[in-house]
């Protein structure tokens, strides 16, 4: 009885899904899906190699410091970094005094201890990076209706995060003539900027970097590509400060586990030896 009912249920589902297949196939044949500009012109990020990559990755502290400088002097005008505290900068190789000094160079929202009114004060190491806008509405109003996203987790929140950041920052270009020929409606709108690495190709953010925009303390030449690489490295750190510790811990764990598993294999063999039949090998 169960099998009989089951048979009919099975046939019913099969008929239903094959009917859907047939209608879908008919539609696909008669009205093929129109190609879109995003589909044809979107590009995946170009590979980017950072010192922190791979199982033996290490932080390049010089590069992280340069990346921090780029964030501070360029990105922070619009983008917050709200999950990172100034105290965390000690991990980039700054001394306690330098952390205090750089924290104090930022202005954070505060409360007047006498009147209770909101005001601003210099940051302390325990403060988090301040947001450039008081709220989302202000951020939207100041940026052509697009909220600049928080950057703390950016390299984890996109596929190929660090490479994406680097490609996006260096990927601004004129809209290809071929695209306009094929999709005349897809012309980049006013206030938008064509960038093939952005999901829908048109980005509200204007190209943020230009050569020698910052002056690096270590004398590195501040090309757009250099700054983009440095800030991508910095954002890799902000997204996961424990990245290198994680990989190092992983090595210790793996070495132990391989050793323990080999031991367990021999122990298993020993335990099973008396009941494992011995057959003459045929070779």
């Amino acid at each position: 009885m169960i099998r009989l009912i089951g048979f009919f249920v099975g046939v019913a589902f099969t008929v239903a899904v094959l009917w859907a297949f047939a209608t879908g196939a008919y539609t696909a044949a008669t009205e093929p899906a129109a190609p879109t500009a995003e589909h044809e012109f979107h590009r995946t990020p170009r590979p980017l190699h950072l010192a922190s990559d791979g199982p033996f990755g290490r932080w390049d502290l010089q590069q992280l410091q340069r990346g921090y400088q780029v964030y501070k002097e360029v990105c922070s005008a619009c983008h917050s970094l709200k999950y990172v505290a100034f105290r965390d900068l000690a991990q980039l190789g700054y001394t306690e005094a330098e952390v205090k000094a750089t924290a104090a160079s930022w202005t954070v929202p505060g409360i007047d201890p006498v009147t209770g009114e909101t005001n601003t004060r210099p940051g302390t190491p325990t403060d988090y990076f301040p947001s450039p806008f008081p709220n989302d509405i202000a951020a939207r109003a100041a940026n052509n209706n697009a909220i600049p996203p928080d950057l703390s987790l950016m390299t984890k929140a996109r596929h190929d995060g660090a490479a994406y950041v680097h490609s996006l920052l260096t990927g601004y270009q004129d809209q290809p003539a071929e695209l306009l020929k094929k999709f005349p409606d897809a012309k980049t709108g006013p206030g938008l900027h064509y960038n093939p690495y952005f999901a829908n190709l048109n980005l509200a953010m204007a190209p943020p970097l230009s050569d020698d925009q910052v002056t690096y303390a270590d004398g590195t030449k501040a090309t757009v590509d250099q700054m983009a690489t440095d800030v991508a490295a910095f954002l890799t750190w902000t997204a996961e400060p424990s990245l290198i510790k994680r990989k190092q811990t992983g090595w210790a764990v793996m070495i132990f586990l391989v050793f323990a598993t080999i031991l367990a294999w021999f122990a298993k063999k020993q335990v099973w030896a008396p009941i494992t039949p011995k057959r003459p090998k045929k070779d």
């Binding site: 048979f7 589902f13 239903a16 859907a20 424990s242 323990a260 598993t261 367990a264 099973w272 057959r279």
Partner: protein, 430 residues
């Protein structure tokens, strides 16, 4: 236990004797996973996955209870509290990655465990109850995993909660009120997040309870084995401890190597980048997918794209998705072949491998965007899925001619050579 030759627990130390009289927990464990449980001597490594699943449950409960000490189930701060765990709590990053990847590995282990059951006919009499309880555990596990994924309150969390509760909206008439009731609002918010947290904390302990029933039910007929031939004599079995504890110990080592590789070197590989974006009720991610372990069922859900008569496509998809798992409940009665193991069923074996490929296709399509050719591919795969369980299996089990079975487990291990059998019987009745 039913085997007369099962070893008896004999406490030696006075304390153990006292304990055995007052609270015979050591005896219970001895009979469950110690020397007192005779197990077929021929279990292969596919039989390791039951113990591994148990390990995963413990792993998830331990890491989960710890994460709950730091997590805040409030829509305003849930995302921040997860970042707090990742950045500030001592070893918090490791505990969270261990829990997130632990869920994925739990499903890897469970899927292998289930497919082992499919191939070796572990669902057949006298183990139907073991199988039914197993399906219940799987359903509970899916519910727990789904609610756990909502907790970090990222984009995928939010939209996952919205889409999955939206499934209930497909039920005629009462669907929409049920959806609102499940969420405690019109969209996922504090109410939903809090109840999901509460249930996500509770359900693992319910699972642990059903796991105990699952093992209990297993111990009544005893474990199945790769030949599918029932235990006939003492020489067919060996005690669980030390033989299978040693084998499981090695299996656990291999499992941990794979698991720790992911936790420490690719912790976000099985996650989705969008879940590192805080939940935003006003913007849907371009390509929303559930966690990978739901992909086959998600593919079945999306395969139904056309209405049939008065039944809307949405309802068909939801019905098919739930049925695709419910059908497992009827498996012991759909496949009536008296032979359990796929090794001795030539036709069944071929269809089993087609099912494996079919599931792989469903996995692939479920994770792909809802575009062609994935939709059409998943429609073919869905059709086979239902045909396999509801049409092919019953027919195959009626018409198939199985290959000859070995006389006993001992014979399967040692060959029918009399000397070897004698030697085996001379082994101490450990």
């Amino acid at each position: 236990m039913s085997f007369p030759w099962a070893k008896q627990y004999e406490p030696k130390a006075p304390l153990m004797r006292y304990l055995d009289e007052k609270l015979p927990l050591p005896r219970f464990l001895y009979n469950a996973v110690g020397g007192g449980y005779p197990v077929p001597r021929n279990l292969n490594y596919w039989w390791n996955f039951g113990v591994l699943a148990g390990f995963c449950l413990v792993l998830q409960i331990v890491t989960g209870v710890i994460l709950a000490m730091h997590f805040a189930a409030n829509a305003g701060v849930a995302f921040n509290s997860v970042e707090h765990i990742m950045r500030d709590v001592n070893w918090g990053w490791m505990l969270r990655y261990a829990h997130a990847n632990g869920a994925s590995f739990f499903f890897i282990v469970i899927y292998i465990h289930i497919f082992r059951g499919f191939f070796y006919g572990s669902y057949k009499a006298p183990r139907e109850m073991v199988w039914l309880l197993g399906v219940v555990i799987f359903l509970l596990l899916m519910a727990t995993a789904f609610m756990g994924y909502v907790l970090p309150w990222g984009q995928m969390s939010f939209w996952g909660a919205k889409v999955i509760t939206g499934l209930f909206g497909a039920i005629p008439i009462v669907g929409e009120p049920i959806q609102i009731w499940l969420l405690g609002g019109y969209a996922p918010d504090n109410a939903a997040l809090n109840r999901f947290f509460s249930l996500h904390f509770l359900l693992p302990f319910v699972i642990a309870g059903v796991v105990i029933l699952h093992i209990w039910a297993l111990h009544i007929p005893g474990s199945s084995n790769p030949t599918g031939v029932e235990i006939k004599s003492e020489s067919d079995t060996i005690p669980f401890h030390p033989y299978y504890t040693a084998k499981d110990g090695f299996g656990l080592g291999v499992f941990l190597i794979a698991y720790c590789l992911m936790v420490f070197f690719l912790p976000n590989f099985m996650g989705h980048p969008d879940n590192y974006i805080p939940a935003n009720p006003l913007s849907t991610p371009a390509h929303i997918v559930p966690e990978w372990y739901f992909w086959p069922f998600y593919a079945i859900l999306r395969a139904f794209t056309a209405d049939i008569l008065f039944v809307p496509a949405k309802l068909l998809g939801v019905l098919a998705m739930f049925s695709s798992i419910l059908v497992w409940f009827f498996l012991p009665w759909l496949d009536k072949s008296p032979v359990r193991s796929g090794h001795y069923r030539p036709v069944f074996k071929k269809f089993f491998w087609v099912l494996v490929v079919d599931m792989a296709v469903l996995f692939y399509c479920g994770g792909a965007p809802a575009e062609e050719p994935y939709v059409m591919l998943s429609q073919i795969a869905t059709a086979y899925y239902f045909l396999h369980f509801l049409v092919i299996l019953p027919i195959v089990s009626m018409i198939e001619r199985p290959n000859p079975l070995p006389f006993s487990i001992t014979e399967a291990v040692l060959g029918s050579d009399d000397k070897a059998v004698m030697a085996a019987n001379a082994t101490p009745a450990t």
